[in-house]
Amino acid sequence: MTLTKAELADLLFEKVGLNKREAKDMVESFFEEIRGALENGDSVKLSSFGNFQLRDKPQRPGRNPKTGEEIPITARRVVTFHASQKLKLAVENIKRDSNGNIRQ
């Protein structure tokens, strides 16, 4: 199972009482506000869930893995996510069997 925007919108429809249109727009706006803040160079701190931060990475040497040719990897800004202590603790104790299925 994978959680997607559709399930989140259903949840807002059922639990918050937004209509279907508003629920879909709210989920879209939620992620858009986070993208917008990060785009503007602002980090995003969602207590109890985690923080989205920006990292400026300098140019570094790279290689085309097929041809072995050296190509510089350009300087870039990337997003990193740091889970809150609460979220880390919540996922820490998941156990899987040898087939990769969750045991508890």
Partner: protein
């Protein structure tokens, strides 16, 4: 931007809703995301990114104070991978 600022911005986007709805919606979304990960599920938000769990095998660690060896159990840690749109927008604004 903090959670309360996010709530304020969403409330401003939805003037037809009461402010409490934006507050409730944000908490509901974050709770659902945390609960999905706690069940071992993935989260995939197109244009934003995906959250999954990375496995950390058991290892022998050390108590940094006493230097004593301690067995650290296997565990899962949350991992986020930014989606294409987020990656490009963040980098372009650089």
């Amino acid at each position: 931007m903090t959670k309360s600022e996010l709530i304020d911005r969403l409330a401003a986007r939805f003037p037809q809703l009461v402010a409490k709805d934006a507050d409730f919606a944000v908490k509901m979304i974050l709770d659902a995301m945390a609960a999905a990960l706690a069940r071992g599920e993935r989260i995939e938000i197109r244009g934003f990114g995906s959250f999954a769990l990375n496995y950390r095998p058991p290892r022998v660690g050390r108590n940094p104070k006493s230097g004593e060896k301690v067995q650290v159990a296997e565990k899962y840690v949350p991992h986020f991978k930014a989606g294409k749109e987020l990656r490009e927008r963040v980098d372009l604004s650089h």
